[in-house]
Amino acid sequence: MKIVHEVLVPLTKIVMDSSALILLAKCGLMGIVCELFEVISPSSVMAEVASKEMIIKYPDAALINELTSKKKIKIQDHKSAGFHLPLSLHKGEKDAILLAMEIKNSIFATDDGKAIKAARFLKIPFIISPKIVIELYKLQKITFKVARESIGKLNTIGRYSPDIIASALVSLMEGENDKTYNHKVT
């Protein structure tokens, strides 16, 4: 919750699977996303990305573990035992989708095509990491420079197809041009 005009406003809830946690951590935006939104992951996802072994091997796994320890990433498990998804997924991905389905008004963050297919089928709102960068920029939470650098990192370390990266950069440029135009007009 955050205080806006002395009224408690609930933060937007984002349920993340391992693909989103990993790529957002790698592009350096995990911290700010956790500040602005309520980030939730199932315990199975945390076991996939931030086990003791992985914390030693990968600095970004240690960062995720630290954010979890500080309760910036909340661990929560779904209660939908026995629910069958329309397609097979690994435990963490399945748990994250079921959790997103259970948490009202949450958004499911993933960078996996098959998980997106399941989310579409179940009509769960979803978001991929490049769109999170665009949204952070639109909400003026990061500068154009940071947004562009983050998309650049997602391009090199994230292996998004060139058309996705190009489209994300165009969205950023449009936002920047609109801002410049509005600034000139006012």
Partner: protein, 101 residues
């Protein structure tokens, strides 16, 4: 422990292998075992990644099948010149994040 098996190979391939074994003075059986093992793991990885690319497997399903941790997954794609199995449509259909009220 090894077990015997029989396979039929194309003559030209077998000739190339025999010639190579003689040139490098390799142990024939050990060499055949080695290339069989190497070929199998490379082929298995290729096939699982192709299934991923077609959207038939998720990242974590591939990781489990190939005994990879999820942090290694993207580098495997990079090694093979592959991309994430996300389409432009998925970016365009992604939700917007609500700002402050």
């Amino acid at each position: 422990m090894t077990k015997p098996t029989t396979i039929r190979l194309p003559e030209d391939l077998l000739d190339d292998i025999e010639q190579f074994i003689q040139e490098l003075k390799l142990d024939r059986a050990a060499y055949l075992r080695e290339i069989f093992r190497k070929g199998f793991y490379v082929d298995r990885q290729d096939r699982f990644l192709q299934q991923y690319m077609r959207g038939e497997l998720s990242q974590m399903e591939v990781c489990k099948a190939l005994k990879l941790d999820p942090w290694q997954f993207v580098s495997q794609l990079k090694t093979r010149g592959l991309y994430l199995n996300i389409e432009l449509e998925d970016l365009l259909d992604s939700s917007e994040l609500p700002g402050e009220i």
